[in-house]
Symmetry: C2
Subunit: 394 residues, 2 copies
């Protein structure tokens, strides 16, 4: 008799986005014709940039003709894309080899898959508030999870607790949901903690392209010693609008070893066993992101989202409401006004001004009393939402 | 200290395709200008059909404009593609709901990922000769593997051994590497075995489109009771030339339950946690495969590969060499002549007539003395290879 993976029974039902969808649907049904201003989900609204579209069309044409047709791709990524990523990192002074870069179908896929490198017995550390999948993917694998709670007192950027023994540490910076970004010295403290204990940091860099303060680290490999304790997981989703096009990459340094095993070599073995690579067409689109034209165009799009962030930040400043994020991240994390709870504030905004955000409590208990706005909506909707928020809360 | 997944140490080095690549490279270096006839790897040579190319271009255009842009896709698959697959199965009299179909990035990805549904303690049964990844993916997960050896005596289509207790059973039909196809009654015996014991069959249907004998089952769900014991893993790779474009789908019936857990619901939870769906562009290309035009065009391509198979089969018939496969599968599995071993025959063909195939020993010990030809090469190369084989072995 097959025994299913019984750890699935230990998953908590994830009601966050389901509940948001249910509540908004009910509202729309009861108020036909009313338009909602959706600042909840972290999905982009701008189309792919011209350089990417051009490359995608060219790649489709390649697949139409026998002489240019591409069959199986190299499992760890096409050389043209791995090389483009090497050059992107070199601009920041980070020296990588193409063999340290693994092309993936996206960060969410990779955050789940990468756990195959680790034994079930490892202790996982999740800094809350956090993206719920970090927790669920480890619950499915039967791992024990420790939580490090953050809050306003440390601006949602906690230091490592030297008394704890974490084996696998999730760090997302710029952070989802708080938008907070670790400084160089704060991140160095985590790297030192990991190297001292032999832990491994899974660094989620999905939002690095939104950093504008030059002093902040985009990659964990800007820090001393990260190559012996970190894996960086990156995404084209927010950087280049690939949420529905799907592409990402993961950096595993060749110097990353534990217990006599080389994690880079292990991942090569994993990918050559469990995948046949990522679509040629999509990888071609991804390579165009790193062209001169592509970089210019994606940054024009990012500027539009950053203007949305400014509009919302100005509204909160005007109201004197505490928040973090927005400047170096596409998320704004605000304190709910008048001591309201997260879901209470959600209902209030929906009912009174038809604005949809994300209740902070959905990212962990310490998110209670906070609220996340995404800046990926259209400029028109964002301006209108900001206007209504100011009017409602003044 | 992080403990790596130490089961990786138990993997045997996979030398098969590496050794083939090394030997052919050395030959080419020592014989500059000589053209090899490559009948080894199972990669397609024909480009994507027109209906797919058109759909891919249209989907790229959708991603270029704000009004038609697609962000995050549903994690379990786009409704338009799930519905197209429902209709494809309905033509064969198999009634599925869209929720029983999960779109994937390809069968090789899915064959690895799907194992997350099962506890480590399950006993895995692999019918040899077999695709090496079935074994490796389970070794990585720490599972014990039993082998069921097949051979000429049962035409490489073994019956279940009623004395064994297998929990997870891999069945690939039409088979890679042997090209053998289970008949309806043979497959029914496996379904009955699985239902009796509570086992689950992972049915690899990657080559179903190559079946031409109307009596042979394309899907395990054509058999009575399969909905309570089987998961079917399907691919666009060989059917529609998607080896480098990447797309597949998996069928998990809602009736598939073990130990109080519903495997369909578990997979929904897995996908919503660990993926953000498959590329909109590629799913649009995949849906075009099921259009009337798409079906016509892919079958024209399959006919070209089938003609290759006929050319090779005629050569072997002429030589009086035992083989199976070829008629309902894109692989031909031949007995090495003159009692040669697999690698000996490989070297002989390479050195004497510059033909590259795959030594059967690479698919398990019982493959020793056999040899696999792929029929995915060009018609010109296949004809020339057949001619040289007849001349060499006559």
């Amino acid at each position: 008799m097959v025994k299913p993976n019984m750890y699935y029974n230990e998953l908590k039902d994830s009601y966050l986005f389901y509940n948001i969808a249910q509540k908004t649907r009910t509202y729309v049904e009861n108020h036909p014709g009313v338009k909602l201003l959706r600042m909840g989900i972290g999905d982009v609204s701008l189309p792919l940039c011209d350089a990417v579209i051009k490359a995608l069309h060219e790649a489709v044409d390649d697949q139409a003709s026998k002489s240019s047709f591409h069959g199986y791709m190299p499992e760890c990524g096409a050389p043209f894309l791995r090389e483009a990523i090497v050059k992107y990192y070199a601009k920041r002074g980070i020296s990588l080899s193409a063999e340290e870069i693994f092309v993936s179908s996206g960060a969410s896929d990779e955050l789940g898959d990468i756990l195959d490198l680790f034994d079930r017995s490892n202790q996982v550390l999740v800094i809350e508030p956090a993206y719920p999948a970090y927790v669920d993917a480890n619950v499915m694998a039967g791992r024990k999870i420790m939580y490090l709670v953050s809050g306003e007192e440390n601006e949602f950027l906690p230091e490592p607790n030297e008394k704890t023994e974490a084996d696998i540490i999730y760090i997302c910076s710029p952070n989802n949901p708080t938008g907070a970004v670790f400084s160089r010295s704060q991140l160095q403290a985590w790297v030192n903690y990991a190297n001292k204990r032999g832990s491994i940091i899974l660094f989620d860099a999905a939002y690095e392209a939104f950093i504008e303060d030059e002093i902040l680290p985009h990659s964990i490999f800007e820090l001393d010693g990260a190559e012996t304790c970190a894996i960086e997981i990156c995404s084209f989703s927010k950087t280049a609008g690939f949420t529905g096009t799907r592409l990402g990459y993961t950096i595993i340094p060749k110097a990353l070893k534990r217990n006599g095993m080389n994690m880079n070599e292990m991942w090569v073995r994993n990918r050559t066993t469990k995948t046949n690579g990522v679509s040629y067409i999509i990888q071609k689109g991804g390579a165009a992101v790193f062209s001169e034209e592509g970089q210019k165009q994606i940054h024009e799009n990012i500027q539009i989202y950053k203007k949305n962030a400014k509009v919302l930040m100005q509204a909160l400043d005007q109201l004197g409401i505490w928040y973090c994020g927005g400047k170096n991240a596409p998320y704004i994390w605000m304190k709910c006004p008048r001591g309201m709870k997260s879901w209470e504030f959600f209902d209030y905004l929906l009912q009174e001004i038809q604005v949809v955000g994300t209740p902070g409590e959905g990212f962990g208990a310490c998110g209670e009393g906070y609220f996340r706005f995404s800046t990926f909506s259209s400029p028109e909707d964002t301006k209108e939402a900001a206007k209504r928020i100011v009017k409602l809360l003044s």
